[in-house]
Amino acid sequence: MSRVVPTLRHMRRAFSATAVLTLLATASLAAQAKAPSPDPRIGLKAGRYDAGEAAWNMRLVSTTKSPPRFEDGVNSDLAFTGKYAIQGNFNGFVVWDISNPATPVVTTEYFCPASQSDVSVYKHLLFVSGEGMEGRLDCAEGGVPTAISGERLRGIRIFDISDITKPKYVGNVQTCRGSHTHSVLADPNDKDFVYVYVSGSAPVRPEIEMPGCTAGQPGDNPGSAMFRIEVIKVPLANPGAAAIVASPRIFEGLEAPPVHGASPADAEEMAKARAAGAFIATIGGEEMVLPNGFVTQLMGQVMSARGATGAPTAADSAALRTALPGIIAQMMGGSADDARGPKPGPNQCHDITLYPAMGIAGGACEGYGLVLDISNPANPRRLDAVADSNFAYWHSATFNNAGTTVLFTDEWGGGGGPKCRAGDPYEWGANAIFTLKDGKMSFASYYKLPVAQTSLENCVAHNGSLIPVPGRDIKVQAWYQGGISIFDFTDPAKPFEIAFHDRGPLDPTQMQMAGSWSVYWYNGSIVSSEIARGLDIFDVVASPLLTQNEIDAAKTVRFEEFNAQMQPKFTWTPSFPVARAYLDQLERDGGLASGRIRAIRSALTNAERASGAARSTALQTLATQVTADAAGAKDGTKVRTLAETIRGI
């Protein structure tokens, strides 16, 4: 926090100098180790296609307008396959050929309105989310005029994109709450199927529109469509037969932990109290043992209502137990059913990030961040849950590559509010970073866009992905009209910004939805879905904070397809750029004596010039030397990793 406060103070001062900064904003900034001061993101000119821009350590390669029928829709999430980026839009989806990042070309436009058209791709299949009331089975515009209708689509649309220029709409899976977002999970043990986890936050559909859709507490109504996620199983050979196979209640028994971290001791205490006949009620989704003094008060009330006096009898106790849920509801709000339990916890997730390589998932679920065991795809199981008093609404999760850190975002205000103003606290609408050990989370720090935005710019933590720099945890993240921020969270307690791009507000007079919905690293490019302006593609520019070798090493990681919600595990094939990236890091952090770093660099250069047996011998010799260096080095682990890399080239 101490790091942040002066920054914000500084920014407030800078606001008064808006006019001067506007002039500076378009000036190009050389790669720098220190963030430019004053921050050029302040005071940018408003405009749709002519807004002022500021960038540091990254470069806008191209901005391409959405096709006309999508230009007035809202661009949403991105998925990638081969040379294509698939961009969701509230009017359907657009497929871009991004093989030349300077000139993305529209390959396919598919008009099929539905909010918010979250997209995922798996092999030849494309999945699109529909949540709103206006989505139609026939993809027509105009909405659905009645509250109950057989023409409405709320759920998942499935397309066959074997020919990506002609997507075939092959099926739907309707769900009770629609699909706000979804995540695709390949089953490691069964290649013929893929699973889709559906998260819906909108109200439950009427049962007449979709049989089986009812609301309410699961204790009362075991079929309630709330308090669960839907798991859809899709046969790859016959995607039209996709269906819901499980609706796991992953929130059941959720104990709201005190601010950070749940305690097994609490659960044990609760079980003991229950066995001892304590009075227990569910309050705010949390099961609580009522303290003796409180029970005495309530007992007095119940006895007085029964006309009883003296010491409470077993009948008085029974009467209190019966009346308790009603009394609690009257005191705390909610219904008697809420107070009777079972503890309902949050009733849905906003988004679930799956990390199949580690068998875990991060669920961002209302007031909670969850870690799930997904080793059985059809039956995810909760491992841990954390709440955070500073978080309004948990939105999404990203794991670091090792699976030892998980970062949750707080989409405070739902993305439509300007939550990065100078007066908005740093902890609100931010990322919360947790360390993850044996399935349990411990809070480490917050990271929020480190510059204030105007009240004309919707701004809050949103979607992003890791940049596959070996040896570091680096994320590129969208902040709506707050722009894009690249930051390092290798030390989860000390995240810091290393690059950014920002534009002025869309509209000079009032806040309109715009900015980056999602930004992801895909095979060497940074691709951003700009809500109102189309598709942006960026390059990272080398700086002392992220060297060319580190960028080159990141570019060696390539994928055939990419969905941010199904996080892939990066592996780095040993190569000269990867070895040099580690060397740069050892130099930056003082992990190895500088004389040795110089010597290893020069040995690598010589080895690269050589070929065949000579190169191989040089590399093996060097690897042996570097292994010996590890013993005396400050960062022996990284030096050993470097040695292994050199040996493997």
């Binding site: 709103g132 206006e134 909405g143 989704g285 005191m331 709000g333 209302e366 309004a392």
Partner: protein, 221 residues
């Protein structure tokens, strides 16, 4: 003493009235539609949106009603700094003011873009309601007066309980909106209503836990 405070609270709550639904929202005083250049552009944009997803009287009534509803939550929250000694109540009140003020701006913009009347909430204070009819969860004059008069922990307890009631009313308004034919087709209305419902439900749970802690502590001998 403690016993009495608790009983008094129960009695206050039992007397709470829950008023009319969102579809029959309170009448609001119209203000003239703005006519400058930028709003002309906004109106044109809104027309284009609305050609695709027509909004209905229920959407308008919902947005107009919710502005008044939010305005009361802000008035309640402004009472907090002078009356509470609790840092967490202050934080909660600050969050509610921040969140609901921004949401009022969204609703006002949506209404202005469609040239619908927007009530002026800026001058609203504790004893003024947005019209006479009550929306779900709105505090009565008596409840507001009691909140104003309370100090310290008594204020905290009343504030939490009444804000829970107020938030529950907002959720009822959303539920009624979604049950109305043709309503919430408009994407702004849908998104706003669905988000408000989720955010406020999350906040209710948080407030219930805060309230329980206070009531439990108070009951300890």
């Amino acid at each position: 003493m403690l016993m009495h405070a608790s009983l008094a609270l129960l009695l206050v709550l039992a007397g709470a009235t829950i008023g009319c639904g969102a579809g029959r929202s309170a009448p609001v005083a119209p203000t003239p539609a703005p006519t400058d250049e930028s709003s002309a552009a906004a109106i044109a944009r809104a027309r284009a949106d609305s050609a695709r997803y027509p909004y209905t009287a229920a959407d308008i009534a919902f947005m107009q009603g919710m502005i008044g509803h939010h305005a009361q939550a802000i008035v309640m929250s402004h009472l907090a700094p002078e009356r509470t000694e609790s840092a967490s109540i202050r934080t909660l009140a600050a969050r509610i003011i921040n969140a609901q003020r921004d949401e009022i701006a969204i609703m006002e913009r949506w209404l202005r873009d469609r040239q619908q009347p927007v009530a002026d909430t800026s001058a609203m204070h504790a004893h003024q309601h947005m019209g006479h009819a009550m929306m779900p969860g709105m505090l009565t004059d008596a409840q507001m007066a009691e909140l104003e008069a309370a100090r310290g922990e008594e204020f905290d307890r009343r504030f939490l309980r009444l804000m829970i009631q107020h938030h529950e009313g907002a959720i009822t308004m959303v539920t009624e909106l979604f049950a109305t034919d043709g309503a919430a087709q408009d994407q702004t209305v849908f998104r706003f209503a669905a988000d408000a419902q989720v955010d406020q439900r999350t906040e209710i749970a948080r407030m219930q836990r805060m309230l329980a802690a206070l009531l439990f502590a108070q009951a300890e001998p």
